[in-house]
Amino acid sequence: MFSTSIGKKLGMALTGLVLYSFLIGHLAGNLQLFFDDGGTAFNTYAEFMISNPLLVPTEFVLLGALVLHVWFAASLTRLSRQAKPQGYAVRQAVGGRSLASRTMIWSGSTILIFLVIHIRTFKFGQTGEGGLFALVADTFHQPGWAAGYVVVMTVLGFHLWHAMHSAFQTLGWHARAGWRRASILMSILIAGGFAAIPIYFFLAQ
């Protein structure tokens, strides 16, 4: 099944939705950064997550989903390039083709590179007195880091713009404009929520 074109699309959709749900959970947890308590709530939450025995298995599931998502994407992109070796001299976009849908592979690659940096900084970064909260605050006090994060979160928003309705269409659940609108709204909420964190810390210093 997963060797056929539709099967690979199914793989993209399923792994994509796993990663999508992670994003929602991750954002929900991160919202505690906004609590005006000097980071107590967030640090408690971070401690709870680190000491949770379910953490490692969950991380493996997510890593697996990510690897498969990238693998299917690479394989499908190759298939597409082979199927259309020559383009048109004049090209007009019609239908639902958008900047976001056209650049999925590039926005995806950007996020992949970002992930490496992000995990190194926050998961394996040195935390001192103030815990993870202080590390987050210190990082985003630096204008370069804050700006970089906002840019990448915009790219993430672009990726999600096309992601959700595309995944549901692939799963065989076609609901036209409804999915599109929901997909766009979710992408703005998620990307906006994440981008608000560096902005907040940068302005709050």
Binding site: L79, S80, Q82, G95, H162, Q169, T170, G172
Partner: protein, 259 residues
Amino acid sequence: MSDVDITLKVWRQDGPDQKGRFETYQTQATPDMSFLEMLDVVNDSLEEGQKLPISFDSDCREGICGMCSLVINGVAHGPGEGTTTCQLYMRSFADGDTITIEPFRARSFPVIRDLVVDRSAFDDIVQAGGYNSVNTGSAPDANSVLVSKDRAEEAMDAAACIGCGACVATCKNASAMLFVSAKLKHLNVLPQGQPERRERSRAMLKAMDDAGFGHCTNEYECEAVCPKEISVGTIAFLNREVYRSSLVTSSLAPTVTGE
């Protein structure tokens, strides 16, 4: 409306393995000429000058056979919704316009000459499963096999596909999924199509992949250019049928009649 002066940039290619190039022609057209008639006039004058005419496909010239093709100014079948190239009229263009004409592009649609491409890959897909092979005997009594109106409409909508290939031409992945889904759906939703339903889904998917068509990235360009306005909901149907067919092996599949 008065006549229009048009500059054409046409893809010319002498044979399948030859290098192609754009050539420029000047022509005059009346607004009520069809696009293909305009090309006929250009060809007449080329022949008068002892030059090779531009090769392009057409047959019925009334939007039902699926033979005409062409990507006109970057849009398969040119401007206008729900129309084929043969249903496009020169009144859609303004005096002094430059029109670029290219062949349908996809690895599975190799150029034979100029604007003519080989679309027989579509025939291979239909041969793989786009038919009913079970003998249904003589014509049944009226209303002995019930099909609801909604079902019948769905099947008819899908059956409207004329196999022109514009969906493949416009898709950046050269995906044939709109075509395949239409050719599969008009059989798979009707009682007569049930015995071979799963086999058909599997076989047509395999034929589609084997023919070298790409995958669908859900950008819905195909729907926008399809002269028969086949909906991308049909592609979602194809996806469901493929998942379903892989869940149940055909030997175990019950023979469903009607649904």
